[in-house]
Every structure is written in structure tokens, then in C-alpha cells.
Symmetry: C2
Subunit: 663 residues, 2 copies
């Protein structure tokens, strides 16, 4: 029979496991991985299990040796094991479990001894098992086991023998020399992709390089962009994301406010990529040269920031691919190239690539070479434009290829689409994803959404990145409202999610004039060169600076899955706790949703979670203001004013309270 | 690349799928199978999908052709397809999905036409697609398509052409001739085991053949058992389950009340199998001959009943296997054979078989040969004793082997153990399973348990069989209480679950004397020959007769998954609806938990589910008594009395109510 009939232990319902192991789970270096499984044998014998993990073999290299970590029994046949990996790359994990005959015997021995039953034969059974273990042990183990066997066989003092047989030393050595030929192995090797920490913790700032010239009316360049980097660094961001920097098409160029007819002087949308000046590997001539770009990348690095590029696969009708690779596009019977459509709407400035092309392999390779081209220039993060309108298996292939070849390349999926597709993009490899944050407005919506993101399987593969605004979206929550609404959305984005970003300087300048009837900016920067006073300060900018500092100093804000919501007696107040893995950094965050009126209420501190006893006094320090409060009850009062800061980020301290109470 | 780059449609989250398709789902002939999946492509093109199913190939026979059934879009990227299979056996199912370019084009065409855009090129695109389809079509399809292409190319009346292009005839033919080379196929073939109807709907009666002699003090036989079959048939049962009928061991035989020392005249427990008279293929001499047994099997058949045998793998120390196959047992250092233990308790009358034996292959084959031996004698149902103390992979192998070779063999798992193990036994192939019914006592417990059994994945592979008592268990719900408690447990078992059974005649005789301090019968029949008046009638017996008749006449009681609980305003009243697949047979069941006092209250009829409008009058007929009631509201009043029948099984009739109202 094609079965190993000795296998008596079942390993079922393993988590995390995405789509039967088809897709990897995601972690960053040193981030905890909790594996659970139902592990049980037939009958009443004891079982035991270990987690096995190792780096995945690349190409034809030799398989790595498995590392082992013991599982712990959690009740009701559930077992769990926590581990983490301290380097990046693809790792695999699986489970091995077995009937533990020796501890089963020890357990029976003890019960029989306590019941006063004859011990002689019982002890011989144990001695036999140890003799079998001798054959499997290393030299020193053999010697030690042999010594114990002789004691068990010859010692006439039953109590002594039982005590020896149950000793931790024997238990340990019998564990180490256990028979590994009758173990059950879980039938899959599951995969975890371990990425660098920025995959999980990042603060993004998006701006248009062409709007950085100090001279009004002039087109900004990489050089003028370089000049504003120190101000962005001062705001505390670590990823600078630039809309496409490639030559902009002329045909069907869009004018101001997305007009279908552009005037000659209109600069066009950077997302209509490709002209006679080149395609995705070229730079828009007015921005400067490749050297200027590399200089910008290096300047960012020197300020502890990274430049992220936009990877937008669509082409303008002037893109060199249209002539050089016509087979990558669809052609209409009248001989014209097929542009993007959402009938009856036509988007003639953008050509979708045809993923059903017979020449798809060359297309895929060319697209990959674009990514590699910019990696070569020092770019390590890509924000991918509308990935859900391109082939999923292409992305899965591309991201995997890049991950296998390069270390630390991150991809942000700019997909605002249906839930199953958002999930799919996370599963097939995108490091981070845009989310529905932008359209969540009240306490119930946020609690439900964050619960979905952090308490379902999504937490294993979908890393949210919360954006209060983008060049495409001026949400109702900000539209035509005052500065407090910016402060509120900022606090929510930056404390609910460890990855967040904003489109500046419109955000910090509290700009919010909508195009009538749309959730969009009027006179969008997508179609115009703007002039900004990059040094201008606002209260929003000040809060950005403080918030980014608090995020950097507090480990608890550097992951998203650790969120737990707390009760408040006012629906205008949302409250949640965040605690780091080591339970050292304990935060309680409360934000008001009301940009107009003061809101006050009581919130319930999760004392037990914070390691506090009932009625034990504790100190809370508001990290946004430095204010200290001395609390001693479960329920505590807060009042938030839109004219002040509409939120608190409290750090909980168990230390003795200050004698100068403030409340 | 080892990828088909054209694949643009994802097929995810397929249900039902047990442990990634490792285990089959279960159905009976013509029972509905609802398959759902998330199916979506990139971008905005329309997608479509079909379910594929076919009989699984046995051995080396040629693969069967797939049958197709279209999926229906249910919203939010969820698709579903209902199908059923009208013969027994192993079948496989999977999903195929594709981008539907033609209907995408039709949709755009309509929108563009409505918007008054130029149509010429648009119509040519459709004509091109139809020309491509011609190459794939059968002769008659080719001809028809060619005709339409010419019309589209030449007809100058745009409106006519658009109307033709959108016609159902073209849509249908383009569906039939679609390009099947760029479809996505789900990556697994899932399995469904289709069994005969008794797997889902059965009424079991267990008795000890040795207690059937009409003469007090004499050992009953198969002959005397045959004599009581008509009375059991009159009660309406269809499965008769006999405790082991094999020779009973002498060594360490148990006496009355499980005494460790038996008197010479004690008959012993039938579960201590094997003596010098033979083992699992032999018959206990006092019961009669093999011919007598076959005669019993045939007599049962003539009464539309089946004999189920007990398959209990343990052996007594006198079993021929101990001498003939010592390698199948564990041996102690003192040369004695290892008996069952739960330290410090010893069960020296029973030897467990050692599934870790080096000779496991021969052991498995021998055990299989036992099942085949009794199949050969006409047995088609086996009640398996304590399957959870035997190797899971052995059962998986055995049941699959038997299912592949024989049609309609059923296995009931007698496992009262931990939840994950109960589930496992269902997954690995047991047709039906004993359950926790016996220990569920109040409304909340029943609602939770039935929800778990019918609303979770368990419903796909775990068929519950509800027993109010067994020779091993006299539960607290019956212990030392009066007849009403028997009526209550009977109504619950027989209406909550389509499979149920009882241990008689103790149940219908309302016998309930417990062994002090245990949930067991005192003077258990397991260790004694009893004498019963098999013709005796009781109210419980009368209700059994009525209930079994109602179960046979009402399709809605012949499955378990169709249960839905209804609100009542009294926690002593449990109420649930059951409706058959065709929505013809609509039942509302209400049972009181109180064996002592009358209980009354209001219950909420699920009008919508029953196809009734608000305030529409309807008739309810109590199938247990024949009483008719005329109701017209959502909430209705019932009163149940322990001295009457503590439950109603109402059939809902939409017909005009009787003029003679009773209420």
C-alpha cells in the first residue's frame, strides 16, 4: 500500500494558511508568527509536536536544514507555536507531530505507583523504551541512557526507580532521542515572506515635482524638488512618492480640470505616459536628467527617506511601444488603437495593454525590465497604479521574480475596488494596499473595518496604508471643512494604521475646494503646474511633525494588528489601545469625530490588558502635548475640542503617580 | 515560462471544500449540492463560469466526460451553482470561468448606441468575434454564424444591426462556441460521495438478541429474534442494530454490574470478542448458526428493515488472533499480552490491537476481510465501536476501499469524544456519527448544537444520528424520571435529526433505573440475559409508532440541515421549522422541555419562509394528533402538557381554512 500505516497523529486546521498554502503570509524581520493547529492522535496516548521552519531554497541550491520549535498545548486539541525570523526572504514552515510513548508511559507509571500497583513490569517497559532510544542517540546520550537503564533494571528500591524514571533529565533525553520514523508531517510546506520593517511601518508623502519651483509659473525640476526635501524630512516622513516622472503624451492630452481639449501650454497628466522623448524608462525632459533623478534619490537617502516611483502600465498613444510592439495593444477594425473605455465614456489619452496578447511573455519581460531599470537607479519602493485593471497572474509573477532577485523591494497597490479584488492583490504579493479608510467616517464604520483588517485572515497578507487624501480623492470628510477635519483625519490615519500617507502640500495646507459634484479637487494638480510656499507652517503641519515623532518613538504604533477598541459612552469619541509585542509600550488613543463642537465622555481603560490591577493608580501621558494625568479607575473622563487637538495619544505608565495631579 | 499568461479570471474561496479538498463532501442521491465561489477578472470585462462534474474514475478505467452547469452571479463577486446527482458513487466537481468578451462587447454596444455614438466600427468588432467563433463551431453553428456576420457587415440600418447583435439567439450561439482555450480552471477537483438515501434518513432500533427468548431464564437466539421483528417493524424502524454476535471470551469475563469476577453462569459482555469458538467471523454458539443469522437478515429485509452489525475491533484474551497473530498486539516484559488501560484502571477483558505493528498491512487486510465477510452474508450497515481509539488512516483506507468495491455500505461511528475527533471521523468517511445530543438539555444548548451541525462546514461531511439512550448511557434527562421525559427526548431526537435511534425495549418501556452515581443502567444488559414482554404497549411505544409514520410521510423530516429555529417567549418551549427542497412540505415543530408541568407560550411563525403573506390565514395540522388549527398571525399561542403529548409537529397548509375553527 502507498500509505505509511504507522501514522497515528492528525494535524488539521493549520493557521495561518492562505488559500491552502497557495499564497505566502507576510511578516517583517523579527515580527511574531503565531502558528496554530489541531493536533491529536487516536486513543488516549499523549502527543507532542514541533514547528519546522527554514529558508526556502532558491533555484537549484541545496535545501536548508529545518529549525525546530516546540508547540504548546492550548486545550481542546488546539496547539500553538510562536516564532519569528530575523532576516528577510521567503521561508517555509510546517508541523511534525507524534505519539509520545515515553511520557504516556511516565504518566501511567505515576498513577499506578500512586495507586500502589506492582511496579516491576512497569519499570521494565520504561527500561525497554530507553534501550530502544540508545540506538538512536549520540555517543554521550547513549552512555547516559545506558546508565539509567541499569539503574532501572537493578535498583530494588521501587520509589527511587519511579522517581528516577520521572526525572526531568530522563524526560529531556528521551525527547531528544525520540523515534522520528513514525512522526506525522503536515502535508504542506507553507510560506512566509519576511520583508524589511518599512513594509509594516512607513509614513508616505506624495507631491508633484513639477510644482516645486520657487518661481511662480516655472516648471519644477528634480533640482527644485531636492530643495524641499529637508522640509519634508522635518515633517518626519520616510517615503516620498512621486507621480510618474516619464515623458507625457501629446495626443489627446487632457487640459485644466480634465478638459478633453488641452491648450498648447497645458502640461498634461503625468499618468499619460510616453512621447517621442521616450517611455517608462525615460524622464520627462522638463524635470531634468537621469543624473538629477539619481541625485534626488541620494539626497532623500541622506535624510533617511526613500523615493517611491509610480508604476503605471498604461501608455499614451505616443508611447514608443505603440509603434515598436503593436502586438501588445488591441486594434480596432478601422486601424486605430483601442483606448481605455467605460462605455459610453472614452479615455483616448490612455491605452491599456492587452494581457491576452499572444506575445505576453515578451510583454511581461519588458514590464519587469522597467522595474529593474529603476531599481538600478536606487529606487526600492513602487506605488502601482490601478493594479486591479491588469492581469493578476502577471503581478504574482512579477513581484515574486523581483523578491527572489532583489532584497527589500516594496509594492503599494493603488486599488480602490471591490473587496475580493483588494484581498487578491494582497495575496498575490503587494506589500501594502490602499484601503477604504478614505470613505470610513464614523465609529461603527471604523471599528468594523479595522476588525476586518486585523481580526480576519486578511491580517496575514493585506497590509493597509491609510490615506486621508490623494490627487484623485478629496473625500467628503475634508471637503470644504475647516482645519479640525484635517487634524482628525491625520490622527486617525496615523494611529489606526502603521502605514499611512498623504498628498501634500494640499493636506498640510488644509486645502479642500472640491470640483462641484465630485469627491475631487477642483483645478487638480494632475493637469496643472502649481506654485506652493513649501515653508509655510500650519497647525496641521505642526501636528504632522508631532505625530510622526510619536510614531517613531512608540513601537506600539509601528504595527496595525495590535489594535483593540475600547468602549466610550459617546459615539463621537473613538478609543483604542495599542501595545507592542514586548508589552513595554502601552498606548490608549482617543479621537473625536466632530470638527465643529467639543465632545466629552467616559472611556473604559482595558486595565487587564495594560497589566493594571483594579483600583491601581496609573499615569497617562498625552504624547501630543506632554500633559500628564493621574487615573485610578476603569472609566475615565476626556473632553476634546476642535480648536485644540481633537485627540489624545496616551502612554500608560505603571510608575508611581506624580504628586502634582492634573485632571 | 511555466504559466499560461492568458488566464485572467480568479476562482477563489470555493465551497464546499473540506480541508483543501482532501476529504469528500457527502450527499445522497438527488440531494442538492450548492457550490459557491468568488469569481472575478481584472478590469471591467464581464466574466462567466460553469460547474463541471463527472463520476470519478475507478482504477485504470477511462476518464468520464465532464457535465456542465452554468453558475449564477449573486453579487459582490460571489457566484453559485446548484446541482444534484441521481446515482451513488464518488463524483468530482470543479469550476471553469472565463472573460466573456462577447457579452462585454454587447454591453458596450448598447450603451454607445443609446449615447448616439458612431456604430460602424463597433459592429465590425462584433462581426470579427463571430468570425473567430465560426472556426470553433459545429457545421450548423458555422452556417448560422456566417449568415449573421454577413448581415452585420452589410446591413446599413444601424438600429437593425444593433438589435440583431443583441439578440438572444446570437448571445446563445456565441456562448456555445466560446473560446475554451483561455479559460481559468479551478486548481482542484473536489469530491462528493453520493450515498443511498438511508445514509441521510434512518430510524435505528438496538436490541440484544440474547434477550429475545419467550422463556424466562433461557438464552435468546437468532430464531427468537426473528420472532420479534414484526413488532419492531410495526414500530416503524428501518435499521436494526445488534451488539456483537461473536463468541464471547472467557478470560477476565465481566460479571453482573461490570463485576471484575464473573460467576460461571454469567454470559459476559458481547464486546469482549473471541473465544475458542472463533473470532470476528464466527457466531456466538448460543445465538445459533450462520444459517440462522442469514435467515434473520432476510426476514428483516422482507419487513423493509436492515440488520446492522457491530464492528468492534478489540479482542478478548481468548481470541484466536492472540495466538495466530501475536505481532498485532503489544506484549509486556513479563510475557503477558497488553490489555486496555486507563491508569490506574485495567480492562483485562479487552485487548487493543497495535496499529503501530510492523505487520500493519496484514492486520488492515484481515480487518477489511471481516467487513467483507459480513457483507457477503447480506449486511450493509456497520455500527463501529469506539472508532476514535483506532488509527484514523486505517478507517479512511477501509471505508474508501469498501465504498469503491461495494455499493451502499454504511458506517455509523460510535464515538463520544472531543469535538475535533468527532469531526475527523466524519471527514475520513463515516456515514453517520453518534453525537452530543444525549447531553444537550435546554433550548440554548440545542440551538447552539444544531447550528454548529447544520450551519458550519460540518454539515457537508458529518451526519448526526441522535440517540436518547444506549446500553452504555442512561442520561440524566431520562434517569429516574417518568414517561413524559421519554416522550420529550423521543420527539427531539426524531424531529431535530433525520437519523435517530434508540436502545430498546428499555426506551419504549420507559425503564430508567440508574446505577448509583453513574449515567448508566443498573443491572446492565451488557452483562446479563434479560427477559422482556416484547408485545407490551406503552404511550411511548405509541408515540414512536406515530412519529416514525410522520417521518416517513414528511420529506421535510428526512434531512437535518433544513432546520431553522423560531422565537418563542418561553424558554421551556423550543420551536423550529423544516421545509423540503421543493418547498412542498412545510413543518413547524414545537417541543416542551418540561416533563412535570404544563408549559404555554407564544411562538413566531416564519411566515415569509413558509411562503405566507402578512395577515394571510393558514391552517396548521398537528400530525401527531390530527388536530387542525386556523392561524392568521405571526405570533401564535400553544400549550403543551406532559400528561398529553409534550410537542406538536404542525404541517402548514396555505389552503382555505376549515369553517370549523378549533383553538
Amino acid at each position: 500500500m502507498n500509505i505509511d500505516g504507522h501514522i497515528r497523529v492528525s494535524i488539521d486546521n493549520v493557521t495561518p494558511e492562505i488559500d491552502c498554502g497557495k499564497y505566502p503570509i507576510k511578516r517583517v524581520e523579527n515580527e511574531e508568527i503565531l502558528v496554530t493547529a489541531d493536533i491529536f492522535g487516536d486513543g488516549h496516548d499523549k502527543v507532542d509536536a514541533v514547528l519546522l521552519y527554514r529558508e526556502k531554497t532558491k533555484g537549484k541550491s541545496k535545501e536548508k536544514k529545518w529549525q525546530e520549535k516546540p508547540f504548546t498545548f492550548k486545550g481542546n486539541d488546539k496547539w500553538s507555536c510562536k516564532f519569528s525570523i530575523d532576516t528577510t526572504g521567503f521561508f517555509e514552515y510546517t508541523i511534525e507531530a507524534w505519539i509520545d510513548h515515553f511520557t504516556t508511559w511516565q504518566d501511567g507509571l505515576k498513577k499506578k505507583f500512586d495507586a500502589g500497583q506492582p511496579m516491576e513490569t512497569e519499570l521494565l517497559i520504561g527500561a525497554q523504551m530507553m534501550e530502544e532510544a540508545i540506538a538512536r542517540g549520540a555517543a554521550s546520550q547513549k552512555k547516559q541512557l545506558q546508565k539509567w537503564v541499569e539503574l532501572l533494571r537493578n535498583n530494588k528500591d521501587t520509589k527511587d526507580s519511579v522517581s528516577l524514571a520521572l526525572s526531568p533529565e530522563i524526560t529531556q533525553l528521551m525527547y531528544e532521542t525520540r523515534d522520528r520514523t513514525k512522526t506525522s508531517r503536515y502535508d504542506k510546506n507553507l510560506t512566509v515572506l519576511v520583508e524589511r520593517k518599512r513594509a509594516l511601518f512607513s509614513s508616505w508623502y506624495e507631491f508633484f515635482p513639477r510644482s516645486t519651483s520657487p518661481v511662480e509659473g516655472e516648471h519644477g525640476t528634480f533640482k527644485t524638488s531636492e530643495a524641499i526635501l529637508p522640509e519634508i524630512a522635518r515633517m518626519g516622513f520616510d517615503v516620498i512618492y512621486l507621480p510618474p516622472i516619464h515623458p507625457i503624451g501629446r495626443s489627446f492630452r487632457k487640459g485644466i480640470n480634465n478638459a478633453t481639449e488641452a491648450r498648447p501650454e497645458d502640461p498634461g497628466s503625468p499618468w499619460a505616459i510616453g512621447s517621442e522623448a521616450g517611455g517608462h524608462k525615460a524622464i520627462h525632459p522638463e524635470l531634468g536628467t537621469m543624473e538629477d533623478f539619481v541625485s534626488l534619490v541620494n539626497k532623500a537617502k541622506s535624510l533617511d527617506m526613500e523615493i517611491a516611483l509610480d508604476f503605471a502600465i498604461q501608455c499614451s498613444q505616443d508611447h514608443p511601444y505603440v509603434k515598436d510592439h503593436p502586438q501588445w495593444f488591441n486594434w480596432r477594425p478601422d486601424g486605430t488603437v483601442q483606448y481605455a473605455e467605460n462605455p459610453p465614456k472614452k479615455y483616448q489619452d490612455v491605452l491599456p495593454v492587452n494581457y491576452e496578447s499572444a506575445d505576453w511573455e515578451n510583454l511581461w519581460q519588458e514590464l519587469k525590465s522597467i522595474v529593474e531599470f529603476w531599481i538600478d537607479k536606487g529606487v526600492r519602493i513602487f506605488r502601482v497604479d490601478n493594479p486591479h485593471t491588469k492581469s493578476f497572474i502577471f503581478w504574482e509573477w512579477l513581484i515574486k521574480e523581483i523578491n527572489l532577485k532583489y532584497d527589500g523591494i516594496l509594492f503599494l497597490a493603488e486599488a480602490f475596488t471591490r473587496p475580493r479584488i483588494m484581498e487578491k492583490l494582497g495575496k498575490i504579493g503587494f506589500t501594502q494596499s490602499y484601503t477604504y479608510f478614505t470613505w470610513r467616517n464614523n465609529k461603527k464604520e471604523f471599528q468594523e473595518y479595522l476588525t476586518e483588517l486585523t481580526q480576519t485572515e486578511m491580517v496575514e497578507y493585506f497590509r493597509p496604508n491609510f490615506w486621508p487624501n490623494t490627487p484623485d480623492i478629496l473625500p467628503i470628510s475634508l471637503e470644504n471643512k475647516g482645519e479640525p477635519s484635517f487634524l482628525i483625519r491625520l490622527l486617525l490615519a496615523g494611529t489606526l494604521s502603521s502605514n499611512y500617507g498623504m498628498y501634500g502640500p494640499l493636506f498640510e495646507f488644509n486645502l479642500n475646494e472640491a470640483y462641484p459634484g465630485k469627491e475631487e479637487y477642483t483645478r487638480s494638480e494632475k493637469y496643472e503646474v502649481k506654485h506652493w510656499d513649501w515653508e509655510k507652517t500650519t497647525k496641521t503641519k505642526d501636528l504632522i511633525i508631532t505625530l510622526n515623532k510619536v510614531r517613531k518613538e512608540n513601537e506600539a504604533l509601528q504595527k496595525t494588528r495590535n489594535i483593540e477598541f475600547c468602549d466610550t459612552d459617546n459615539d463621537q469619541l473613538i478609543c483604542y489601545s495599542k501595545i507592542d509585542e514586548d508589552h513595554q509600550n502601552k498606548l490608549l488613543i482617543v479621537v473625536s469625530f466632530d470638527p465643529q463642537y467639543s465632545q466629552s465622555g467616559w472611556l473604559k481603560v482595558p486595565l487587564k490588558k495594560f497589566g493594571l490591577k483594579d483600583n491601581e493608580p496609573f499615569t497617562v501621558i498625552d504624547l501630543l502635548t506632554g500633559s500628564k494625568y493621574f487615573w485610578e479607575n476603569e472609566w475615565n473622563y476626556v473632553a476634546l475640542h476642535p480648536q485644540g487637538i481633537p485627540g489624545h495619544i496616551f502612554r500608560i505608565e505603571q510608575s508611581e503617580p506624580d504628586t502634582t495631579k492634573t485632571k
